[in-house]
Point group: C2
Chain length 152, copies 2
């Protein structure tokens, strides 16, 4: 897939604010409205842009307590892996879950209200999943950087 300078700039703009008008993007890119419109449609059709979403302030909805939790399974049997992953998908508190190399098997990003809610989550939901060997929770002290933008 080939992207020129304009595509890359446009992706940058759309990844930071998708609610502006095509006219505004056109002005910034020194193009006509249709040209921009067609580029956007092309990026959508190609699947480069997967969707458009609203971003929510965690503090305003009382989910400002972020935890990065490292999980190790007791064994790496396919059955255990699949079951763990299936269960994780059901947990709304888990925003992200990555199967990783290194000391732990999985790294999860979890949004809850506070420590109490996290405790509750750990006891009743996370460790309720079978085959978990150990967990190590890293509490987020400060969000230095947090962007959804993939820099092309």
């Amino acid at each position: 897939m080939k992207f020129d300078e304009i595509d890359i700039k446009l992706l940058g703009l759309l990844q930071n604010d998708s609610k502006r008008t095509t006219k505004e993007y056109a002005l910034q890119l020194n193009l006509s409205v249709t040209a921009v419109y067609e580029r956007i449609k092309r990026l959508e059709k190609l699947g480069v842009i997967t969707n458009y979403v609203a971003l929510v302030d965690k503090k305003k909805v009382n989910k400002a307590f972020t935890v990065l939790c490292h999980v190790k399974l007791v064994q790496h049997i396919k059955e255990y892996v699949l079951q763990f992953e299936r269960e994780i998908l059901k947990l709304n508190e888990v925003a992200e879950c990555y199967h990783t190399s290194g000391d732990y098997d999985y790294i999860l990003k979890i949004y809850v209200a506070d420590m109490e809610e996290y405790r509750e989550f750990m006891i009743t939901k996370l460790t309720a999943i079978n085959h978990i060997g150990s967990t190590q929770s890293s509490f987020v002290i400060n969000e230095v950087k947090s962007t959804t933008e993939v820099f092309v």
Copy 2:
């Protein structure tokens, strides 16, 4: 701040797809177009919805190699912390950076094309920052779950 059931449903809808028409949301919520419109405006004004963005498929833009990098500083002096954080903000490859409790000081999410680009990033950009004690890279084998939604 108070949110009723409808607000919560609406936030869920908008966090998953913000490009639908007010009419469509109205239908799903069994409300009129104006009612939904006013709720959205209220959520925006209150700062609950911070902005709207396009999400990009990392694979399609050749940034599918995700690394979670754990960073430890040599010392936790304010000056070192601030300098590190200031430098991190400049690195486009770093999508997220959290100051955390636990064994490491920071956990970073990094998007690059492949291992080679990661190596280059480590050498020329990350470890070029002063006061870094040690790093530990966890490579993402599989993205089990990845959502921008904050579950209210």
